[in-house]
Amino acid sequence: MVCSWGGYTFIINLIPMHVLLCIVTGRFSSRLYIAYAPLVVLGTLLAALVPVVGFNAVMTSEHFASFLVFIIIHVVAFVYYIKGILSPKMFKVAVTLVVSVGLAVCCAVIAVLIALVASSPTKGWSGRSLSLLDPTYASKYIPIIASVSEHQPPTWPSYFMDINVLAFLVPAGIIACFLPLSDASSFVVLYIATSVYFSGVMVRLMLVLAPAACITSGIALSQAFDVFTGSIKFQLTGASSNTEVDAAETSSSTAESQTDAVKTEKPEETAKNRPSRKSKKKEREHGEKPSTEAKAEKKRLLALPLESSVISLLLLVLLGAFYVVHCVWAAAEAYSAPSIVLTSRSHDGLHVFDDFREAYAWLRHNTDVDDKVASWWDYGYQTTAMANRTVIVDNNTWNNTHIATVGTAMSSPERAAWEIFHSLDVKYVLVVFGGLVGYPSDDINKFLWMVRIGGGVFPHIKEPDYLRDGQYRIDSQATPTMLNCLMYKLSYYRFVETDGKGFDRVRQTEIGKKYFKLTHFEEAFTTHHWMVRIYKLKPPKNRIRGKTKKSKSKTSSTTSSPKRSGTKKKNPWQ
């Protein structure tokens, strides 16, 4: 799991928690030790082999819990071992000795650890983990984490959308887990409790909740089926055995009715019931044996009436069937529908918006293999995989500075942006624009995050410059900084000519600056519905001898141009 997802920290904290719980509740056994100690050792070694994790597996606080519990379990195991070889008296002496020495050592170690952890700014926790522990953390300090829609807390409807009836079965499952609380069921309870909390903090951790919810509701369903089928079975077999019971009773010529017999036997039966309640299974098997009539009588008391259990069974099956239908629907509509190919249903049938792939295919076939493409990081992996071109930033968001650089370029005016992109050896800039067809998750809507992330590293980008009275707008009320930034220009270049007004269907407003020209970029490709627009950086201008002073500060790599421009009289670009 370490290979695939950072969510593994959940597991490596959950397991120690469970082990700790077992130890505290006195359920320590050699099995627990055998299961846990190798897991920590091997797990840490294997995790450290994954390049992303590396030494983080022993250095960050996320992994600390497992080591702490590792130490504790060894201490406990040692204590049990000592207890086994020493006489009780000696053991007491040893305990006092060890406890006094151990406490001192522990205090010292803990003090050192706290000092170490406290010395690092994030207390050794990574940003994502911290935002889990403190849901407001990310929005305060790390915009790049807060900017991802997956990192937002989910809404209530999304719970019902994602786990549907399981939401109601989970509490029942938790209760079922408690009935006989074993090591395994305590783990399930712990798992569901923590995952519910985490899914409440971030939408994407719904992924962690899903298996837990499935397990607990499975337990709940299985228990329910157990009870219902058990009682049905009893009622059916009971009917046949009742005749025998009746016969026995008539032999003693006491014409007691069947219900009376039940009543008379009731007190003693229930008394017997209690001790043997521990394992319901036993009793159930009992009920099946026609030879044990007395038992069957006992069973009858736990049984529900035949009709109600049959109806409940049918209802449960129906519930399951509806859930399956819902799952198929959700899998088809919500999960499988790729976010890269969009569809809309109109009166004349299905309309496909395949603009992303159109743009990526264009990049793939009509640009040089070495060309670099700059876009917001959301499209990084897609560009790499589908367009087969090098990107500047992609969805692995470790390198915050790099993303901030692109964010800064997007929020800078054209010339500054051109310089940044040119210094990054970028040939093409890709922006996603939904204004023409009303595709809401486009770059203009994400733009504030670019400003924030960019501003986090390059302080000359200030968020208030892009907001008018704290409001983000792109209409005529927008700030000049906003209307002159690269993102605005690349998105709305020649947009006004489509309808004459420049009405943005996502923002539901007319754009602020309608007619403008690009000086450092040229439109290279725009897809059918304008959803992806690709711009090419114009080559650097030739320098003219008289004007070299002006562009001295430029970082652009036009080293050979002065010589050439010397021979040329006229600069073709001016």
Partner: protein, 607 residues
């Protein structure tokens, strides 16, 4: 270019000095140059006359090197008047000729006439020559708004090693917008057609260059490379997969591409671009797909009737000059339409080239994948192709399927002719793969069965193995014990039943008999039980088993006592109520004991 043409002219003039090859004379030549597509087709009707005395059977056709380089296809057919049928069966054999005294700048082909021409005889035949890349875009780079202009160069006079008596030339253009054209004497223009001639009595090797510079916005679709894979499955399908690498071969586009302009005025801004291609697939084509490396391309339409299937595909983006794209189309065809049998050999008869309309293919590779086990493979193609063999390993293949690879460069739609691949294939080989699967699963299940039944532990003397075996034995014994106990219990039940009978019928004798039988049975059972118990002595569950047996004994005794009491009571003719009272206490104990025995049985059952 101009200077080159001039050189060429000088060269041809030099050629003029060389003597005529033979005494043939072309009495009439009608040439029609079709520039209505990016594939240039020159169709000429020639009447050849033998002016000499010797019998001639070959006519030479000359092409300047410049043209010959681009020539994709050349066919000569006897002239059949108006009803022009290009029947390949009657095509005249054409082969490259290389007479000694010909200048190097000319490439010559000789047409063999069906029968030799005697003195004064004449023969009329048609020649169709197809050229690719013969239209040169000028200017070479255009913006989106520009129209695409192309230049075509040829000679107004028919270049021939023979003297031509009467000749005419007409050039058909896509439309009447002509930038410029060479004006010679007798040049007429009718709408989109330029006519040169007629010219009379032109000597051999005469060359009079003309150039036509005209607007052409036709799709310049060129496939750089096309790999066609035709896979035969004798289960009833011929699967064709075509991988295209397409380029717009016209003028390179430069500068901005504006979607706005393209959408607003597609015929003006982006006239040179093409948006779609049409493929005429064979009839009854099914499972058609159109995709590229990043998935299905949703912009395609399929129309089909009994004669053909028309597939209209749109690339992901409009193709402007110099833009490239790559895609794959695939379709399945019914086997019986394409695979036939003759003289014990099977042969595939399928078209060679791409089904796309007006597509030039620079390099075409046709791979025919035959079923595994085919042998004696031979290919019959209507024109020369490069060929070799490969093998392809696919699903469930052992030694791979034989693949015939045919390669041809410079392919035009005229090459879309049927070719044949002959091979031997035994019908039994078809069963190979299903049998393989069946036997594979069979052996898998057999292995599973063997595994479940065989004892495959390595060390027969290891502690765990012995313990396991012992445990199994113990379990078997416990099972036996359980059986015996349950038989005891049924005996008890029988006794009870006999008591009930007694109360109903009062038949004491029967009851006693039942008692006797039960006694005997129980004795037997306890005898059986003994060795088992001694065996179980050492096992961990011995205590429970012993307890069970003890309880059962007790129960047995109680039942006996009860039975005797009741029987006694009946014998003494006591009232039913009385007997009931006597037995009541025993009955209670009995139920309690029975309960315990049942519990124990269940407990043991769970071990």
């Amino acid at each position: 270019m101009e200077s080159f043409r001039f050189c060429f002219l000088m060269l041809t003039i030099a050629i003029l000095a060389s003597p005529a090859l033979s005494d043939l004379v072309l009495s009439k030549v009608d040439r029609r140059i079709y520039l209505t597509s990016h594939i240039v087709r020159i169709s000429s009707t020639m009447k050849v006359e033998n002016a000499g005395s010797e019998k001639e059977s070959k006519v030479l056709l000359a092409f300047p090197e410049q043209q010959a380089k681009n020539m994709a296809y050349l066919i000569a057919t006897p002239h059949e008047g108006k009803g022009k049928g290009k029947n390949p069966v009657v095509a005249l054999p054409v082969e490259a000729a290389n007479p000694k005294d010909m200048p190097a700048a000319l490439t010559l082909y000789s047409v063999s006439l069906p029968k030799g021409l005697a003195e004064g005889d004449s023969f009329t035949f048609d020649v169709l020559a197809v050229f690719t890349h013969a239209l040169r875009p000028i200017p070479e780079q255009i913006t989106q708004a520009d129209i695409q202009l192309v230049l075509y160069q040829d000679s107004a006079h028919y270049l021939s090693p023979y003297a031509v008596k009467v000749q005419s030339l007409s050039v058909k253009l896509p439309d009447s917008r002509i930038e410029s054209y060479t004006k010679l004497e007798n040049t007429k223009i009718h709408g989109s057609e330029i006519k040169y001639g007629p010219y009379e009595n032109i000597p051999s090797f005469s060359y009079s260059p003309i150039a036509v510079h005209f607007e052409s916005n036709l799709p310049f679709a060129v496939a750089h490379e096309l790999v066609r894979e035709i896979e035969i499955s004798h289960w009833g399908n011929v699967q064709v997969t075509e991988h295209y690498k397409l380029i717009h071969g016209g003028a390179q586009s430069k500068g901005e591409f504006s979607r706005l302009d393209f959408q607003a005025r597609p015929n003006v801004r982006g006239a040179s671009a093409f948006r779609y291609l049409v493929a005429n697939l064979p009839p009854r084509a099914h499972s058609v797909y159109y995709r590229d490396e990043i998935g299905n391309i949703s912009t395609s339409h399929l129309r089909g009737d009994s004669k053909k299937t028309e597939l209209l595909i749109e690339p992901r983006y409009p193709m402007f000059g110099g833009w490239r794209t790559a895609f794959t189309i695939g379709y399945g065809l019914p086997l019986q339409d394409f695979l036939f049998e003759s003289d014990g050999k099977r042969f595939l008869n399928i078209t060679f080239s791409s089904p796309m309309v007006e597509l030039v293919i620079d390099a075409l590779i046709v791979k025919v994948v035959l079923p595994e086990g085919s042998s004696d493979i031979s290919v019959a193609a209507p024109f020369p192709v490069e060929q070799w063999q490969e093998t392809k390993i696919s699903h469930l293949d052992i030694d791979g399927r034989p693949v015939v690879v045919l390669k041809k460069t410079n392919v035009v739609p005229e090459h879309n002719q049927f070719f044949q691949v002959y091979y031997h294939f035994s019908q039994l080989s078809m069963l190979r793969e299903p049998l393989m699967l069946i036997s594979g699963f069979f052996f898998f299940f057999v292995a599973c069965i063997v595994y479940m039944h065989a004892d495959i532990s390595i060390s027969k003397s290891s502690a765990s193995y012995l313990a396991k075996q012992q445990w199994e034995e113990v379990q078997a014994v416990i099972q036996q014990v359980q059986n015996i106990i349950s038989r005891c219990l049924t005996t008890h039940d029988n006794l009870e039943a006999s008591l009930r009978d007694l109360s109903r019928t009062g038949n004491i004798q029967a009851c006693k008999a039942a008692r006797k039988a039960a006694d005997g049975l129980l004795k037997e059972l306890s005898k059986e039980l003994k060795p088992l118990l001694t065996f179980l002595q050492s096992s961990p569950s011995a205590a429970q088993v012993e307890e069970l047996v003890a309880k059962e004994r007790e129960l047995q005794e109680k039942v006996m006592v009860k039975h005797s009491t009741v029987v006694d009571g009946y014998e003494k003719k006591l009232g039913a109520r009385d007997i009931e009272n006597r037995v009541a206490l025993q009955q209670q104990k009995l139920t309690a004991l029975r309960q315990e025995v049942d519990d124990l049985l269940e407990f043991i059952d769970e071990i």
